[in-house]
Assembly symmetry: C2
Homo-oligomer: 214 residues x 2
Amino acid sequence: MQIAVLLYDRFTSLDAVGPFELLSRLPGAETVFVAAEPGPVRNDQGNLALVADRSLAEVTAPDIVLVPGGPGARQAMHDETILDWLRTADATSAWTTSVCTGSLVLAGAGLLKGRRATSHWLALDDLVPHGAEPTGERVVFDGKYVTAAGVSSGIDMALHLIGRIAGDETAQTIQLMTEYDPQPPYDAGSPDKAPAEIVAKWRTKAGQVTAAGR
Amino acid sequence: MQIAVLLYDRFTSLDAVGPFELLSRLPGAETVFVAAEPGPVRNDQGNLALVADRSLAEVTAPDIVLVPGGPGARQAMHDETILDWLRTADATSAWTTSVCTGSLVLAGAGLLKGRRATSHWLALDDLVPHGAEPTGERVVFDGKYVTAAGVSSGIDMALHLIGRIAGDETAQTIQLMTEYDPQPPYDAGSPDKAPAEIVAKWRTKAGQVTAAGR
């Protein structure tokens, strides 16, 4: 089983590495980071580069496609090289997946039309023009299309997927070996749970960014 | 505030990238990945390389030191270049931290003597010969030394640290923006919670690896 993780400029690191860390432990999995060209690809903050070991042209039929989000998703969702690759890979994939605004890239490729999907809570509305039905859920399965909410949610998505692919015992083993027994000291991880003034502040900021056309 | 994330051959990716993703969002933080030499450093599975942008010699006084774990920690904990760097950095750091078996590297540098600390659940006993007092807790603070349990626990550690450094509102904002609202589909993330037969199997395997001197 081959798992391809797509990289593009200004992706968010944990979107990619979270689910990668768990999915790549699937028995028999071969995981490969891919980008338009092989080599280092820099993250959204500019302070970390992950190396794409293969070009898109070299990896055309992965069993699992994983698309991370990040500010760069707004460019990637209009990048024909990436969109063509996604459509080709999707034609034979067993699972086509995304984390955070990675769902916008899938949507840009036309893959979420008429499907339920999720994204970062500040980006859910941006799925609508592409024919997807946004939901605020953390992990959304619609057939072979699996989308996760913001950044850290890709870890939960990976565990769900591992369970479906290899069964509960394998998923529990991988959860144990990665000690995924979350104990956050705050309960502010979703707009429903975070203090209302923080949520309002960031909704306003996001609106200003959108209005400025960025 | 400068945050240095140490890389060495066969580190575990999520150990580094999980806490990095959150800590690097601290207002005013400059985060840098460091290794003996700048350039790509490959992970434990050999399927991902992260780029160290600076050599150890270039980054000698970070405010926060973060040491990930991984199978390579067993070599790193005896690597004098790494240990010298850690002792130097620790002399002026505000926080010296680790995830998973990264605590063995701190212990190898003599930094955990007489201190409470944690590690991956299969490596807790290995802290004892270095004078540390292992605890099964997920995140352990002992003065400025902060250690986290296996792999994914670095995310919780980061949130704790952000709260101490910048206050609850900043921590809650970063939790919200990374949507860290964990909803794992299984409850098997610690040896106390996972099915007993899975825990026993992996304790046996780990014992065999230790007996074989690997």
